[in-house]
């Protein structure tokens, strides 16, 4: 059927609206728009003030109009479904049908009108920067709101529920007012970002050359290769064969992968390492065709798995061959219980790989649950599992399809030490069972189990070999942005035939070569600092103080129990504990985001229960784990100025504060950049600057190095150390034990909402039993030196203390 080109032809509307359901990205957009719309609508539908300050007005009605101008037909479906979902939280009825159509039209008409109104049209870009664009936006808003209000008003009167003249004007005025007030600023913020991420409707339409291929992706095919989509020749090749792979992201100056070639045999375990941006994730995504099918850019070369070209088959067709685990496991969980999560890929995946009878399916699910250690949790909601359990569930949902290869992109990043340990045990087991494994990873200590490490740099494999070969080359690791193996670093330069990878090997090596740890007196034995019931062992000038604090969340979860601690000004404190131990709750009590259920929190003698938020914001700065949860402004400068402006700083002082904060984080020249265009590490620094600009004396960092490579982590930690030297009190929540060992002067050890250890870092790490009771592990260096009765924390300390007997 020939599709009419005119935007006003009904057949064109049907075509556009039906195409949404033929593209996974647009289906995801529909669900996202629906979820956002519903999340903002629900409080109004059911009258529950879910989030104070967020929903007194009804901003939701601007969402369909804004989404329509950004995403086209997907917004129409999203708005309709979103309204229906909000109804399902308490107001479901026949009127919901008219609500669906009304909101559907509110999300479709703006897309239809913008740029198609003859002389009224102001151009393609749906932003309001000129009076013509403003006029066009007003017309769009009025027409869309009118159609929406008429549809719902007519429907509700038809059902005999309310007269048209009462309801329709209310809906109309609410939509128009919210659309006009919130639409232009939201579009101004969102349009450039949506354009950059390639999510506009024009970007998402398939190119037509390749099913599923984006219109802005180009494949430079080998002229000799005459294969068509869906056909591939099987040749005698390694199991995974990557040849001359080059990929340049859209708008990037240089290719991220450049003529990269790599071969991986069946049953081999390979870890891809390198600094951020070295192409690890890109290479992972190319294994099952996600690149080039899902990511805009220029692609050349070939990637073959089991003799089949991954670029020539749909991604979903390859799920039975290549299983993919992404860094962010939250995004991969789609069901409401564990058993359904594993059942889902079996019921929806390739029919040829699917067990034909329910018994086989159930057996396979039970086997996978045993393999990933989740037996007994079948009916649990995945959102209630720990981070480690969730990650293993994601791995399970991949393994249940029995793929030949499992590719994991930085799976350890968000896990606590216990979660990492379990995942590594699982990887060991899969390796023993002969599965081909490919992992992208930052941390060298997590790569020891593999057969081969490949270091990526400048778009190529710069070095490849067994992990042990990398032990003796700390300079090589450093050169490619990887943290060298700490134990090997300690022993390098001692002219030994081998270098140790594990603590046990280090002890054996020390015995064989007559080495012992004999530190200078200032690093001598220390006492354990197990928490006693009475107060804190450290007393001094109080930066802040928690007195007998308990905190219970709504719903009854007790996050802190009878918690007392005192931290002096200028201390560098690491807060350690597994997920759910109460670390974040403790931090949020300090700046009044949470108020204690019992007891009191005093920050510089100011009670958080009586202090205002702006008072506390000027005393305590909190850098959240994910910078994207706070960044909103169109420039870095405005983002950093947000805090001082909220505190009522005069413009001149505000300028000074922003300049000083940007200088402190090394982003002096980035003031005019869009923060969303920066790398994760840079965005993290913008978040730090935006907190620093308020000039707080206490700085809280929640997992400051998550997702950063070794160089970025080091840069971030040196910056934090510098703040501490300048007199700031530092509170660092972390899972990374070596960071605490190297930088913190004091550690708080938490378990089940209670403080079980408090003292100098060396003292805490000297008590292995105490640390292990919090489901944590003493860093390898400290464990190694404890054999001689000492607890050393850094490579430099150990090197200075290693002596021949």
């Amino acid at each position: 059927m020939k599709v009419p080109s005119s935007s006003w032809h009904p057949l064109r509307w049907v075509y556009d609206l039906s195409q949404v359901w033929r593209d996974t990205r647009q289906i995801v957009l529909v669900a996202q728009i629906a979820a956002i719309y519903a999340a903002i609508l629900i409080p109004f539908k059911v009258g529950i003030p879910l989030i104070p300050g967020f929903a007194e007005l009804r901003p939701a009605n601007a969402i369909p109009i804004v989404a329509s101008l950004l995403f086209g037909p997907a917004a129409a479906w999203g708005a309709g479904i979103g309204n229906m979902i909000a109804d399902c939280f308490g107001t479901l009825g026949p009127a919901s049908l008219f609500g669906f159509f009304g909101n559907f039209l509110l999300g479709y008409v703006p897309y239809l009108l913008w740029g198609n109104m003859g002389p009224l049209s102001s151009g393609e870009e749906p932003i309001v920067k000129s009076w013509r664009q403003g006029l066009e936006f007003v017309v769009v808003c009025l027409v869309a709101s009118c159609i929406c209000a008429a549809t719902i008003g007519w429907g509700v009167e038809l059902l005999g529920l309310l007269p048209f003249v009462l309801l329709a004007p209310l809906i109309f005025f609410n939509n128009v007012i919210m659309g006009l007030l919130l639409g232009p600023p939201l579009l101004l913020f969102l349009y450039p970002r949506v354009k950059r991420w390639g999510l506009r409707y024009v970007d998402l339409r398939s190119s037509g050359k390749f099913p599923g291929l984006r219109s802005d992706t180009q494949i430079l095919a080998d002229p000799s290769d005459q294969q068509t989509f869906g056909q591939e020749a099987i040749r005698d090749e390694p199991f995974i064969s990557v040849r001359d792979l080059t990929f340049r992201y859209k708008d990037a100056e240089r290719p991220v992968l450049s003529q990269l070639s790599l071969e991986i045999n069946q049953g081999e375990s390979v870890v891809l390492m390198g600094r951020s941006g070295s192409g690890k994730s890109t290479l992972c995504y190319a294994m099952n065709g996600l690149i080039p099918q899902f990511v805009a850019g220029q692609f050349s070369g070939s990637v073959k798995v089991d003799g089949k070209d991954s670029t020539r088959r749909h991604v979903w067709e390859q799920a039975g061959t290549v299983g993919m685990v992404f860094q962010d496991f939250e995004t991969q969980l789609i069901s409401t219980n564990v058993e359904r999560e594993l059942r889902y890929p079996l019921e929806n995946g390739d029919p040829s790989l699917r067990p034909q009878d329910p018994e086989t399916m159930t057996r396979r699910i039970q086997g996978t649950l045993r393999l990933v250690g989740l037996t007994g949790l079948e009916q649990r909601d995945p959102l209630t599992l720990s981070g480690g359990q969730r990650q293993r569930l994601v791995v399970g949902s991949v393994l249940v399809q029995e793929p030949a290869v499992v590719v994991m992109d930085q799976p350890m990043t968000d896990l606590d030490p216990a979660g990492r340990k379990r995942l590594i045990q699982l990887l060991h087991r899969l390796r023993r069972e002969g599965m081909t494994l490919v992992l992208a990873e930052h941390d060298s200590e997590e790569a020891l189990w593999a057969d081969r490490i490949c270091l990526l740099d400048q778009g190529k494999v710069a070095w490849a070999g067994p992990p042990r070969d990398l032990l003796g080359q700390p300079a090589l690791a450093t050169k490619y942005g990887i943290r060298p193996f700490p134990l090997a670093q300690c022993f390098s330069g001692l002219d030994l035939p081998t270098l140790p990878a594990t603590v046990e090997e280090a002890w054996q090596l020390a015995d064989e070569h007559g080495l012992r740890v004999d530190p200078p007196p200032e690093l001598g034995p220390v006492q354990s600092h197990q928490k006693e019931s009475k107060g804190s062992p450290l007393q001094g000038t109080s930066g802040f103080r928690l007195e007998q604090v308990s905190f219970v969340y709504e719903g009854g979860l007790q996050a802190l129990k009878n918690f007392s601690v005192s931290v002096s000004e200028g201390e560098f404190v690491a807060v350690l504990g597994e997920n759910g131990s109460g670390k974040s709750t403790f931090a949020k009590l300090l700046n009044g985001l949470l108020l204690p259920t019992e007891g009191r929190v005093l920050v510089e003698e100011l009670d958080t229960k009586t202090a205002s938020m702006s008072q506390l914001a000027s005393l305590v700065g909190h850098v959240f784990q994910n910078p994207d949860h706070q960044i909103f402004a169109e420039t870095v400068w405005n983002e950093v100025a947000f805090g001082p402006q909220n505190m009522g700083c005069p413009p001149e002082e505000c300028q000074q504060r922003v300049a000083a904060a940007l200088e402190a984080v090394g982003l002096c020249g980035a003031g005019e950049q869009d923060p969303f265009s920066l790398t994760k590490g840079e965005r993290q620094r913008v978040a730090v600057a935006s907190v620093l600009a308020a000039r707080p004396r206490i700085l809280i960092f929640d997992e400051p190095t998550t997702g950063l490579d070794a160089e970025e982590s080091r840069r971030m930690m040196e910056m934090i150390k510098q703040f501490n030297r300048q007199g700031h009190t530092i509170i660092m929540i972390t899972h990374t034990m070596w960071l605490a060992a190297e930088y913190a002067t004091r550690c708080l050890l938490m378990k089940d909402g209670q403080l079980i250890g408090d003292g100098p870092t060396r003292g805490i790490f000297s008590d292995s039993a105490l640390v292990e009771s919090a489901s944590l592990e003493v860093p390898a260096l400290s464990r190694f030196t404890q054999r001689w009765g000492h607890t050393l924390l850094t490579v430099e300390e150990v090197r200075a203390s290693l002596k021949r007997s």
Binding site: R22, V28, P94, L162, V315, W316, D328, T336
Partner: protein, 262 residues
């Protein structure tokens, strides 16, 4: 954050197939629509209330009772201004309030409450996934049902993100207690932009994760093991069918409607 109305229990309403519950819900809607006489609608209200009690869903009704009362009062008070009859009760300026108008208002208030109570009954006894599956089994296209389930799944996650965003901005001194309209409008971008931005940043990743699991548009999103109808489903459908048929018979013979309403 659990906002869902679903209450896990083993009552016979819970045990019914999703399709049965959706069809019965539609029958209740039709019954409410064919009658306008308050006494008939009151009978229907009592029937739904009885079903809610049997389904142990009174807790949800208690949660929503203010809304139900408000809508009933709103309808009862407003309709008399728009519906005229013959028995004048009062004259308010240009408006004549009649007995028939008030009866119509009460009837429509009850109809609204029957709709909402029936919805609460369905949502209290049906998990979201089973609801989406029932819609799919009743003919809703797979992709639409899939998007519906995904969106349902993400609502609590999004509300969790909103909480974090609000905390992150409050930690930078954002005043959420500002009472002026301008203040309220100005504080939306710092809250809404990170929410939408953070969500959209994940669009491609989510789509990649779905296709990597073997879910492709136009071929996936199917359930190989569909639920089966049980004898209790057929009995319930027949029972409700008889009630509906009786209701239609009553209506066709002139019962259950208000005379002289214009």
């Amino acid at each position: 954050m659990n906002l869902s109305l679903y209450l896990d229990s083993g009552t016979w309403v819970h045990l019914l197939d999703g399709r049965t519950k959706v069809v019965c819900l539609l029958m209740l809607f039709v019954l409410a629509l064919i009658f306008s006489d308050p006494s008939y609608l009151l009978g229907l209200t009592v029937l739904v209330l009885f079903l809610i009690i049997r389904a142990r869903a009174l807790a949800n009704l208690r949660k929503m009772w203010i809304l139900l009362v408000l809508l009933f009062v709103y309808s009862t008070v407003l309709w008399p201004f728009f519906v005229q009859g013959q028995t004048t009760l009062a004259v308010l300026g240009n408006f004549v309030i009649t007995m028939e108008g008030v009866a119509h208002g009460v009837g429509m208030g009850l109809r609204l409450d029957v709709f909402l109570m029936s919805g609460i009954l369905l949502l209290s006894t049906t998990a979201i996934e089973d609801f989406a599956q029932a819609l799919h089994q009743l003919g809703l296209p797979r992709s639409v049902g899939f998007a519906l389930s995904l969106a349902f799944r993400w609502v609590p996650t999004l509300l969790g993100s909103v909480t974090t965003i609000v905390q992150a901005q409050r930690a930078r001194g954002l005043d959420l207690a500002s009472a002026t309209i301008l203040g309220k409008i100005r504080r939306y971008p710092p809250l809404v932009v990170p929410l939408i931005g953070h969500t959209l940043r994940q669009t491609n990743l989510l789509a990649m994760a779905l296709e990597s699991k073997g879910v492709g548009p136009g071929r996936g999103h199917r359930r190989a093991v569909g639920t089966k109808m049980h004898w209790r489903d057929y009995v319930t459908l027949m029972g409700m069918g008889v009630v509906l048929a009786f209701g239609i018979w009553l209506r066709m013979n002139g019962y259950g409607t208000l005379p002289s309403v214009g």
